[in-house]
Symmetry: C2
Subunit: 193 residues, 2 copies
């Protein structure tokens, strides 16, 4: 590929990725087609077929793009505040009908396609790695044992929210986010992570 950043190739990619998320939001994974993405993006469908090929590839590329996007790591001054902010970001996403559609569609896609599954795994591994910064800061401040597995603490902070959304079908809100974050922190303070 010879595209300069900001060139035509990058503009096409941005339009196709936006269209992929918009189509996923409207119809979910099962109704996603290369044709509809191309139409919505205003791009010829042969261009989309040539560059992406399949809907799974579109989803994978959309996830890589999101992964590269800025995601501000919370910095509230305390590890409790930071972990609550991480959990609350998840809760807000899933409590918002417009924002929840993309991550829900991605989980659905991952259940059907190994390409989407790998892209999702890389996406969350990257998010965990970034969020782990709140743990290194806490260790530096003496709030947590230096042996704390930072990524495991982030996993335990987020897991109860995803469990409600995808398994038990229970609502998520600020209270659930706070309880999840504090519970994970208690385990870390007890030296269990």
């Amino acid at each position: 590929m010879t595209a300069r950043p900001g060139g035509r190739s990058a503009r096409v990619r941005a339009a196709v990725i936006d269209a992929t998320f918009a189509e996923l939001a409207e119809g979910g994974y099962l109704r996603l087609t290369v044709e509809n993405v191309a139409t919505r993006a205003g791009v010829h469908k042969t261009t989309v077929y040539r560059r992406w090929g399949t809907v799974d590839e579109l989803i994978a590329d959309a996830l890589e793009h999101s992964r590269d996007a800025d995601w501000p790591v919370p910095d509230t001054g305390s590890v409790e505040g930071d972990l609550i902010a991480v959990a609350d970001d998840v809760a807000r996403t899933f409590a918002d009908p417009a924002r929840r559609t993309a991550p829900v569609a991605v989980v659905a896609a991952a259940l059907q396609s190994s390409r989407a599954r790998e892209a999702m795994a890389r996406f969350y591994a990257d998010r965990h790695r970034r969020a782990a910064e709140v743990v290194s800061r806490a260790v530096a401040r003496g709030e947590l044992p230096a042996t704390t597995d930072a990524v495991e603490l982030i996993r335990l902070t987020c897991a109860p929210l995803f469990y409600r959304v995808f398994v038990t079908g229970e609502p998520v809100d600020r209270e659930v986010a706070e309880r999840s974050a504090r519970a994970a922190l208690a385990a870390a303070r007890a030296g269990l992570l």
Copy 2:
């Protein structure tokens, strides 16, 4: 319905439910059809259509049947042992390629169908309620505060395993089960649940 327990109607239901799980295991939610379930169950397809109607109804009924089935609540003598047993049961299910297909297919179905979603929510609510017995026993033994939210403790015990399976794509094993159970217990002991 006029069926006696163990009568023809119950035998048909059992055969259809077995066939539903077997078809889900083989092809997943997207390839499940009433025709294939009927053929595998050795039942005429009009019988299945009349009694269940759709694949979503088949999945919902299969889940109700599983919900009614015996599920032995662990009783190891300590709340830590019991919670580890609950978590390890989840880990073993998802680590086993043959056993994981049904719960994975159910989550996939729930993402596409509100009928399946409701049935799944009822299934897990019932499992949580049963598993909560390990918490009441722990409270009776003085191992946990009487104010402990028993179902929340079960949720936190199981959530990290489901998070790995459905979101991060990371493996689950005995070690993950033990860490999840001990982390949840630390939060309960700290009076956070």
